[in-house]
Each structure stands twice: as structure tokens, then as C-alpha cells.
């Protein structure tokens, strides 16, 4: 059985089903209860699970720190940070505690917390509501970082995240929340963390993307002007990274373009290219291209289209990779 729903509804469905399955799952965050969250991802969840959905005071350090305490002592907290850019108000709790409690207690205590955060541009939002910081989370050992690009994966990955014994940062691309209705399996549906997905097979060039950039990558490769058979890989989990799927694809095509919305310098493309250099260098027929945001603070929305990679820019990146 499958139903056609949007990404934001898939998230709600995953939370609802996991709360139904496991009494220890607890949902909380700013405005998630009565109003159902600013994006309505937790809409009416409290009606169904009245004792397990809470409006938290406006304090991100508290939201994350509470999760460490709850998680280490028997709950499965699913905390929402209203917008990813406000995680910094509590970042020390992620970096200094959530990500390392297991290591420093030699496995005695763990933090099975999921931190949901809307992120990314494309919705004409206010300042500091559009940043992409996945590389920052990936730089914290002990933290897993997941980015769904479509409704079915959103449900499957979030379910896996909630069940995971370790802290998982779950980044929700705001521009995809209501972008399309797609078929999502009803009932039990999991997508394993740490596995990339080849969403389109091809022979000439590999395009690696995730989150909101996946749709742009797909429209770039489906563009009639592009004279190439491209393979598209949806990374899905940015950390731990599924290098194997990327490497296998690059070994086949010999060319690669990595796309991300985050700034270029020290972005995840750099890590992906390093892994290709380590393990597939001699398969490459051209240097790996990257199509990314620029090294500027994410602009207010009058300039955001200029900042964000789109299908056009990605197509040019693919053409560069093909022409060298």
C-alpha cells in the first residue's frame, strides 16, 4: 500500500507511527505542540499523543541538552530546532555532549536523540533561515547527519533515525516540504542510514547531490540541451558517507560533478573529491567538478537565486566535466 503525500506529511507520518510503536519516543521543540510547528510538520500530533508532544521554551541549548539527559536515561527524544541556523545557540550541547557521550563513557551511556531541523534556501525566508551547514555536522565524530530529498525517503530515513541508538541530525530541505506529492509506503517503512541511492543510471558522468539539490540535478540531466547520459546519486546520509556507491559509479563513468547549496570552501564536495582521489583516481578521465554556493553569507532573498545552484549551473558543471 502506498499513498501520495508531501515530504512534510511524510515526516509527520513517521513521527506518528514511531510514537505509536514505541512509548519512549518524545517530540518537543519551539511551537511544535499547539500550533504543530512553523512548517506544520507536527500538526495535530499532540492530539494523538497528548503526553508525548511538548512546546519547549525558546532555548536551543535547553532543547539539545534536555535531549542528552532524556536520551541517556531511557527516552527517545525527537527534538525540533525551528530553523537549522538556530542550532548554534545550543551547538555546544551537540559537540561537547551529544556527539561524545558514548565515547567518553566507553559505551556505558548513549544518546538516541534525533534532531530535526528545517534548512536550506529557496523559500524567500528571513535572514538566517536558509543556511546549509551539513559539513559542520559531518565534522563532528559521533553524530550522524541525514538529508532526505523526497517524501518516501523522508519517512524511511526519519524512522531509522528515531530507532538509531546514536544522535542523528535530520536536515529537512524546506523548499522540498511541499514541492510535490509522491508515493510513500504506508505502515512500516525504513531506509537504512548510511546508504546512498542511485536514482538514475547513466554511463557518461556521475552527479552527486542531496536534499533540495537533487531535484535541480535531475532537471539538469533531463535537460534536452545536455548531450550526455548522466548517473545521479542521492547521498541521503552525508555522515557516515556511503563512499562505496559514489566510487562504484565514478569507476563506471570516469567523470563526476558534486553539487551542494552550502558554501564551496570546506564544503562536503571537498570530502567527496578527496575520497575519489584516494580510491578511484585512476578511473577519472577529468578533474571532478563542483557546483556549489559561494563563499558569502547566504544572501537575503532578493539575491538568493543568484547564490543557489540551479539546473542551469549544474548543467554547465556537467558540460565542463565532459569537455575536459
Amino acid at each position: 500500500m502506498a499513498n501520495e503525500i508531501r515530504l512534510v506529511e511524510a515526516i509527520r507520518q513517521a513521527l506518528d507511527e514511531e510514537m505509536g510503536r514505541d512509548d519512549s519516543v518524545l517530540v518537543y521543540g519551539e511551537d511544535v505542540g499547539v500550533s504543530g510547528g512553523v512548517f506544520r510538520a507536527t500538526k495535530e500530533l499532540r492530539d494523538e499523543h497528548p503526553d508525548r508532544v511538548y512546546d519547549a521554551p525558546l532555548a536551543e541549548a535547553a532543547i539539545l541538552g534536555l535531549g542528552v539527559g532524556l536520551g541517556a536515561t531511557g527516552f527517545r527524544p525527537v527534538a525540533e530546532i525551528q530553523f537549522a541556523s538556530f542550532v548554534y545557540q545550543g551547538f555546544h550541547q551537540l559537540q561537547q555532549h551529544a556527539a561524545r557521550l558514548r565515547s567518553r563513557t566507553r559505551g556505558t551511556l548513549g544518546v538516541p536523540m534525533t534532531i530535526r531541523m528545517p534548512y536550506g534556501g529557496g523559500i524567500r525566508a528571513l535572514e538566517l533561515h536558509s543556511e546549509s551547514f551539513e559539513a559542520g555536522y559531518a565534522h563532528l565524530p559521533g553524530l550522524k547527519t541525514v538529508v532526505p530529498s523526497n517524501p518516501a525517503d523522508a519517512k524511511g530515513l526519519l524512522t531509522s533515525a528515531v530507532r538509531d541508538p546514536d544522535p542523528v541530525v535530520f536536515l529537512e530541505p524546506t523548499s522540498r516540504y511541499r514541492a510535490s506529492r509522491e508515493s510513500v509506503p504506508e505502515g512500516e517503512h525504513t531506509v537504512p542510514l548510511g546508504e546512498a541511492n542511485v536514482v538514475r543510471e547513466g554511463e557518461d558522468v556521475t552527479v552527486v547531490a542531496w536534499g533540495a539539490m537533487l531535484a535541480e540535478a535531475l532537471s539538469a540531466v533531463d535537460d534536452g540541451d545536455l548531450d550526455a547520459d548522466a548517473e545521479v546519486v542521492d547521498l541521503r546520509t552525508v555522515s557516515p558517507m556511503d563512499s562505496k556507491t559514489i566510487l562504484n559509479s565514478v569507476r563506471k563513468t570516469g567523470r563526476c560533478v558534486v553539487v551542494h547549496e552550502a558554501p564551496r570552501t570546506a564544503g562536503l564536495a571537498a570530502e567527496i573529491i578527496a575520497r575519489i582521489n584516494d580510491d578511484a583516481l585512476y578511473y577519472l578521465e577529468a578533474p571532478v567538478e563542483r557546483v556549489t554556493g559561494y563563499d558569502v553569507p547566504f544572501p537575503l532573498f532578493a539575491r538568493e537565486e543568484a547564490y543557489r545552484p540551479d539546473a542551469e549551473r549544474i548543467r554547465r558543471g556537467i558540460e565542463r566535466a565532459l569537455s575536459r
Binding site: E30, L128, A306
Partner: protein
């Protein structure tokens, strides 16, 4: 064993102008008719700007906008007590305070149109702070600088009731007290932080008492009373200028939505909203001014007409500026001196995208034009 009381605290509530328009002259500031009319004009101007901005947003001409409807007295009363050369550090709902500081409307609109041009500050004003509560520390920093420099000036910072749950706000009050920083903290307690009511935010009975833990003075004022707010802020500034910071809790009510993306009907009742009709800051002040024969119908109509004309002009000006946005300018202000990599990225951008779809750099706005009309005036007491 000993058990004794080692400290006791209380919080005062101040009101000068009550809900029926009566003034307690012991609490009211000493202002002449022109000054009173200016407070009135600023509140009306702010209300009208918010109404027009929300309408523009609904037509897709602005992005998300946070109206300050209902909070005009809290902002105008406090911002006009600050001397023009002293620093104002706003949150994101301070339209009225910006107007009181002389900021031009078109710049406020530019910010809501997603243009950095709107956040170019003129005079001693910080741009809006979107991360809740984080700006309180900047004001503490400014105020500490005044103490170090031995200057009798203070900074004034705005934040909401929700913000007082953030660690930064407590840290700011605490360091300000410890360092004798010249700063006045103004919490506009408008009863709601998006959908979260004040009672779910903290168990503390008042926000003002949050000053107690930091060792600074806290006071509550009727934030819908422009005269009381002005007087309390005047006193707080006098104290802050000598190194004694103060937290003011202005009790008010956000009469419209949190932002244009919010729907308050999901979390509060119409009875609650209409219950504040009689306490509206503008209605109350108007009653007073009329009773004192400072304002009559004709004068009120003239003021309204001037406001309409000004806003219409400013909207035109904002739209003109919007047509001249140069996208490649996003590279220009990252550092004082662009790095080689940024220069390379800008060149790549211009080669691939052109410098902008709508304008060439020559046609773009000059700094002077951008700052135009930005003469900042404020009035001290």
C-alpha cells in the same frame, strides 16, 4: 543551625496614562505639546506602515514581515528617551523604534524585500537581529565600552518575552551588572512567543524579576502607556549612564500575527484579542490628547493625511530601489578586502550569470542613494 532571610526583592509596576486616558502627573514625563504630538504621530505612522506592509506582503511584494501592531507605545516611548547619539540595538519587531530613530520607511521595506540595502544602518543603530535574544550581548558590549571610555552614554536593547528563556539574555544582564555596563534592557512582553504563551515560557511571575539574579534593577511598566514607558526609560537611562544597568519589562500585547507567515487563530482566542481593544496604546493616548485640547479632529486628520502621503512616497522609493538590485554585490561585503578566492568566485559568477539580470553596476545604487533619507534623528530628554 541557623535559618535567616538574607535577601528580599520586589518589583514595581509603573503607569502614567491609564486605560481611560487619565494621566498621573507624578509619573508622566515633562513634555510640551509638540513633543506629545510627535509621540502620537510616530505611533500612528508605525501602525500605518505595518498595515501597508502586511498588505504588500499579501500581494507578494514583500517577504516575511513582523508587524509591531499594539506595541507602538512600548517602542516609541522607549526609543525617544534614548539620546540621538546613543546606540539602539533592536530585535526584529522594532519598526516603530526605527521610525522614532529617524530611519526611512523605504529602508525598512527593502529589508522586507530581501535586500541587504535595508540593513545598512545609519547612525548609532544596529540592524535587526533575527536570532532571538543574541543581540542583548552586543548592547552589553557597547555599554561596557562606555564604562571603560568613561562616557556618560548608554545603549538600549530590545527583546521579547520569549527571548528571556535564551541563555544569551541572562548572560547579557549578568555581565552588564558585573562590568557596570551602560545598558538598558527593554523586554517587550507582548504575551506570546509565536504560539507559546508567556506562562509556558517561564514560571517566573514577572519578567522584570529576572534582573534580580543578575544583580541589576528590574522594573515593570505598562507598555501600552507611551508616557509611562518614556518616563521609566528616561530614569533607567540616567542610571545606566552611571554604570547601573536596568531591565525594563514593558507589558504589552502583540495585536496581530507573529509574522506574516503565522496564523494566531491556531493558538489564541478572538476574545483574548478583542479584550485588548480598550488597552490599545494609540486609542488611549488619543483620548488624553483630545481631553487636553492638544489634538482635535482636524489636526488628527491632517496628521493622517501627511502619513499617507509619506508612506506612499516611501513605497514608491522602495520599489524603485528594488528594480536596481545587483546580485553580484553579494561578494562585495564579505571582508573589508575581498580575498583572492572571493574575487575568483565573483569573476566566475559575472562570466556565467552576468553581473545581474536587471542592472549594471553603474546603474546600481550608490552608497549615498542607499543611505538617502537616512538622517537619523532621535530625541533625548
Amino acid at each position: 543551625m541557623t535559618r535567616e532571610r538574607v535577601a528580599e526583592f520586589s518589583v514595581e509596576y509603573v503607569q502614567a496614562l491609564d486605560e481611560s486616558g487619565e494621566v498621573d502627573s507624578a509619573e508622566a514625563p515633562d513634555l510640551d505639546d509638540e513633543e506629545l504630538l510627535e509621540l502620537y504621530r510616530l505611533m500612528r505612522l508605525s501602525r500605518r506602515m505595518d498595515e501597508r506592509a502586511v498588505a504588500l506582503q499579501r500581494r507578494g511584494e514583500l517577504g516575511t514581515y513582523a508587524p509591531g501592531v499594539g506595541q507602538e507605545a512600548a517602542q516609541v516611548g522607549s526609543a525617544t528617551a534614548l539620546a540621538p547619539e546613543e546606540w539602539m540595538v533592536p530585535s526584529f519587531r522594532e519598526g516603530a523604534a526605527f521610525l522614532a530613530r529617524g530611519a526611512p520607511i523605504h529602508r525598512i521595506l527593502w529589508y522586507a524585500m530581501g535586500m541587504e540595502e535595508g540593513a545598512e544602518v545609519a547612525g548609532p543603530n544596529f540592524p535587526p537581529s533575527i536570532p532571538v535574544g543574541s543581540q542583548a550581548l552586543h548592547a552589553a558590549g557597547i555599554g561596557w565600552g562606555k564604562e571603560i571610555a568613561g562616557e556618560e552614554e548608554a545603549a538600549l536593547v530590545y527583546f521579547g518575552d520569549g527571548a528571556t528563556s535564551e541563555g544569551d539574555v541572562y548572560e547579557a544582564m549578568n555581565v552588564a551588572g558585573a562590568l557596570d555596563a551602560h545598558v538598558v534592557f527593554v523586554c517587550q512582553n507582548n504575551q506570546w512567543a509565536i504560539s507559546t504563551p508567556r506562562e509556558s515560557q517561564t514560571r517566573a511571575e514577572t519578567i522584570a524579576q529576572k534582573a534580580v539574579a543578575a544583580g541589576i534593577e528590574g522594573v515593570q511598566v505598562d507598555g501600552n502607556d507611551v508616557l509611562g514607558t518614556r518616563a521609566v526609560t528616561r530614569d533607567a537611562l540616567e542610571s545606566a549612564r552611571q554604570g547601573d544597568p536596568v531591565l525594563i519589562e514593558a507589558l504589552t500585547y502583540r495585536r496581530s500575527m507573529h509574522t506574516t507567515s503565522d496564523d494566531p487563530r491556531v493558538y489564541r482566542t478572538e476574545e483574548e484579542e478583542t479584550g485588548w481593544d480598550a488597552r490599545d496604546p494609540i486609542v488611549r493616548f488619543e483620548q488624553y490628547l483630545e481631553a487636553e485640547s492638544i489634538l482635535d479632529e482636524e489636526r488628527a486628520a491632517d496628521i493622517a493625511e501627511d502619513i499617507e502621503a509619506l508612506i506612499a512616497d516611501e513605497i514608491d522609493r522602495a520599489k524603485e530601489g528594488q528594480k536596481r538590485v545587483v546580485p553580484a554585490e553579494m561578494f562585495d561585503y564579505v571582508f573589508a578586502e575581498p580575498t583572492p578566492e572571493l574575487r575568483r568566485q565573483k569573476a566566475e559568477f559575472e562570466r556565467e550569470e552576468g553581473d545581474g539580470e536587471v542592472a549594471t553596476p553603474e546603474e546600481g545604487m550608490s552608497g549615498e542613494e542607499r543611505a538617502g533619507g537616512g538622517e537619523v534623528s532621535g530625541r533625548g530628554e
